[in-house]
Subunit: 208 residues, 2 copies
Amino acid sequence: MEETVHLRNLHQPQPLLVVISGPSGAGKDAVVKALKQTNYSFHFVVTTTDREPRPGEVHGVDYYFVSTQEFERMIAADELLEYSTVYNQFKGIHKSQVRDALASGKDVIMRLDVQGAEKVRKMCPDAVLIFLAPESEEAWLLRLHTRNTETDEAFQVRFETAKKELEDAKKFDYVVINAHNQLDDAAQTILSIIEAEHHRTTPRRIQL
Amino acid sequence: MEETVHLRNLHQPQPLLVVISGPSGAGKDAVVKALKQTNYSFHFVVTTTDREPRPGEVHGVDYYFVSTQEFERMIAADELLEYSTVYNQFKGIHKSQVRDALASGKDVIMRLDVQGAEKVRKMCPDAVLIFLAPESEEAWLLRLHTRNTETDEAFQVRFETAKKELEDAKKFDYVVINAHNQLDDAAQTILSIIEAEHHRTTPRRIQL
């Protein structure tokens, strides 16, 4: 029946490329973890970094932790889709990661810093860019401070950069406030955004 | 603190104007009813019509039921924002309804036929237009047929018009399939769309 096919065509659940970004301390990692605990099935692109793992972080799950030497080899071999140096640490997305993700047929989620998100926007204008923002400066400072793994100077650099990055929120598609103790709300809002995006009549074209 | 104010400004929950539309028999009325039963608080704009109430329909809640004579008086007095004649029955939105709705500060939801939705789009390009579509032609025919209040001829007219209206889905922002026995899913998807829209960085400007 022709009409039946037509009706089905109205709603094509094409995979989305979703970038969860925001300044340091906004809670990107926690939100991604919360999303993984829901029954929403997606492919998570794991970032490669040369920084030291924080307590509890698992290689291959939270990040790929490599040496600075290995990261520099990847850059030289053009193996990275995008990379940046933030707070004197390398972070980047390995191309093979993205190829695997796109082949999965599921929605692809990346966690990127603000600079990385802007690079993906240029490469793929139809990516869904979500800016995760802290609720208030007080809560945000507190969250940043609980990372006792860095020096005062490193902290100051991180905080000043993060404050500047808030200005970039308007370049994103959506802003989600990650309020203190309301992590599930932020994750739920992101799921709503993804569900809504799947019902748009003008589908986003993902080409990388 | 300047930054705190700045953070709050990132997310301004401005009221939305949401139009729930779709062909006859897609389940617009049922979905609006389902939305009313959630804890989402919105202002519903009640349509004025000169058709007879169906069993269970309440004046002032489902529709304002008026005589054809009274409807024609409203047209002549320019009291209607938009109106149309569908299947030889008048349907329209009284201006005072929309004024009240916009004054409420809540999201405003209208249920409109496809022609009405297209008129609102022209008047208010930033309205959120949701096209409710039936899942399959079989289920749709069944639903249309259960309305035994009309003649065979009226039914045929309704069905042919509805089939043509499916072509217009692409002009809407979102398409939601209202599958048989999954009314709550359709309502939930609409709530997700509304939540997502509230987190857009480019807010929609509602001016009527």
